[in-house]
């Protein structure tokens, strides 16, 4: 019994020590930290830029990565965090309506553009070359949930504009719960094709191929933009981080991961497309 008690107290002490070593409260005494809530899809870009930021300003960047909507909910509940960078501008509009971000402190700007594309299995075994092919009998298509996931809304609009929504829907075998889950469907080989963002291909070029959609058929493209939150502790630092993300050196990083960094590049793939504006600050 004494042996057991000794073991138990040793474990308790040890775990308390370990836990306290990991405990780094965000709201510490030092405000020299930028807390960034960012869409997980572009995580590699944010990690690289955060490292640059830390070495340049000597300020730690705490990256809180996740789904854009879930992060928005977290910001709304907790009212903490300095920067919000969702994967799509619709979330920024929502955040502004709910008073979570303040567009007057920092005018949000597009950091990277996303164009819808058909992502197929490596080698394109089903020989899908255009949007209409997705309606061909026997093709298994995956789309993001068209009610709740941003990409799903874009997909629905794209197919409706081209009169293909019903025909393709007959081949849709699954609605994915997020952008990343949509991409995963093709990587695993669970479907023949998904309608996704063009970057899905660049995330995993060994497991997928890209079929560009005919430029005139794309009604809307998306972009990633960031804003300072209404409750940022150090607004200047937050702006500095967003500035760095939009800088020329960061543009190289975005490009390396397949993102378009100028509207012109994106428009070359979708000349007719409109983009979601950010209130009077327009995207």
């Amino acid at each position: 019994m004494r042996k057991f008690a000794a073991l138990l107290s040793a474990v308790l002490v040890l775990s308390a020590v370990c836990a306290s070593a990991f405990y780094q409260p965000t709201e510490g005494t030092s405000p020299r930290e930028v807390v960034v809530f960012a869409g997980a899809a572009a995580a590699p870009v944010y990690r690289e830029v955060a490292a640059h930021f830390e070495s340049r300003y000597g300020v730690k960047v705490a990256l809180n990565l996740g789904g854009s909507g879930a992060l928005l909910s977290a910001l709304e509940i907790a009212r903490t965090g300095d920067v919000y960078i969702p994967g799509s501008p619709e979330y920024l509009v929502l955040a502004s309506k709910r008073g979570i971000v303040d567009f007057t402190a920092f005018e949000p700007r597009a950091l990277a553009y996303l164009v819808p594309a058909i992502i197929v299995q490596k080698g394109n075994p089903k020989n899908i070359t255009k949007l209409e092919d997705l309606a061909r009998p026997g093709i298994r298509v995956g789309v993001a949930n068209p009610e709740f996931v941003c990409l799903g809304l874009y997909t629905k609009e794209l197919l409706e504009e081209n009169g293909l929504w019903e025909a393709v829907n007959r081949n849709v075998v699954v609605h994915a719960e997020s952008c990343e889950a949509t991409a995963r469907l093709v990587y695993i080989g669970a479907v023949d094709a998904v309608i996704g963002w063009h970057v899905f291909y660049y995330w995993n070029p060994d497991k997928a191929d890209i079929v560009w959609i005919e430029p005139d058929k794309i009604p809307k493209i998306s972009y990633i933009a960031g804003a300072v939150t209404a409750f940022a502790r150090d607004g200047d630092l937050a702006v500095k981080f967003l500035d760095l993300l939009a800088s020329r050196e960061a543009r190289e990083i975005w490009r390396r991961y397949g993102y378009f960094t100028t509207l012109e590049e994106a428009k070359a793939r979708a000349p007719r497309a409109v983009i979601e504006g950010l209130g009077r600050y327009g995207g």
Binding site: G67, F148, A176, E177, S178, I188, A190
Partner: protein, 262 residues
């Protein structure tokens, strides 16, 4: 004899754990109101999700019991070579996050020749309702087995020995002696497994997807609303899930104790 300090401390811990969950469960009220709840209940999509959740959780619990009862009985009564290893192995799935478990299953049914044969020729699990049941089964089965084994452990093997000497076969002594004696434990295991299946999300969404009016369970609907930033709906749907779970608890406890104990 007065109440010992130990007893007081124990009750204090009980109070802390109750307060902990009560605080968590009443917090959605800050984001919802009865009107929002009624609106959610009027939506076809949510009603579908509720029925789908109840139906699939019931199926996966039944499958879990059918497979779990013999497994738990063997583990409780027999000693065999490598039993410790087997028991340890059965604990491992508990460490795997459900979403990873779901991706593993999806990969198996899509990439593995045996898996794709099963999926294409026998039962379609990928992106279909059986996939929800299988995903829930993957998450709850170990829990079910653990709880069942404990119930069987509580039944003295001597009862079975006596039955055997009186001419019962092994199966008969199990069916007429052990099973009735472990009835409460089994019902309790079923209830907890069902409740866990009802809340299952990760494995389900990975294997069966989040397809509207097809594989969208209540837990998946909660996630989708969270993903879209609709906190009010998240709160309303979570409340519905809690209410369903409470109703089931009360119903089964009535059944277990016949109203004689709360």
């Amino acid at each position: 004899m007065g109440v010992s300090a130990f007893r007081v401390a124990s009750f204090l811990c009980l109070a802390i754990i109750l307060a902990f969950f009560l605080c968590a469960f009443t917090s959605p009220a800050a984001f919802t109101e009865p009107r929002r709840l009624a609106l959610a209940l009027m939506s076809d999509e949510i009603r579908f999700a509720i029925l789908l959740s109840i139906a699939t959780a019931t199926c996966s619990t039944l499958v879990s019991l059918v497979i779990g009862i013999p497994v738990a009985y063997v583990l409780s009564r027999s000693n065999f070579w490598g039993k410790t290893v087997v028991e340890g192995f059965l604990d491992i799935p508990m460490a795997v996050p459900p979403i990873a478990l779901g991706v593993m299953l999806l990969t198996f049914f899509v990439r593995n020749p045996l898996g794709s044969f099963i999926n294409e020729r026998i039962v379609r699990f990928v992106f279909e309702v059986p996939g929800i049941i299988l995903a829930q089964f993957a998450v709850i089965s170990i829990l079910t087995i653990k709880l069942l084994k404990e119930s069987f452990d509580g039944v003295p093997p001597r009862y079975e020995d006596v039955a055997r000497t009186l001419g019962y076969s092994e199966l008969e002594s199990f069916l007429y002696i052990t099973l009735p004696a472990a009835k409460r434990g089994i019902l309790g295991a079923a209830l907890l497994s069902w409740t866990r299946a009802l809340g299952e999300f990760g494995a389900t969404v990975a294997l069966a997807g989040a397809t509207r009016f097809k594989t969208e369970t209540l837990s998946v609907a909660i996630y989708l609303n969270l993903a879209a930033g609709n906190l009010e709906n998240v709160a309303a749907l979570s409340t519905i899930l809690l209410l369903i779970s409470c109703t089931a608890q009360v119903a089964v406890r009535r059944l277990l104790y016949g109203g004689s104990r709360p």
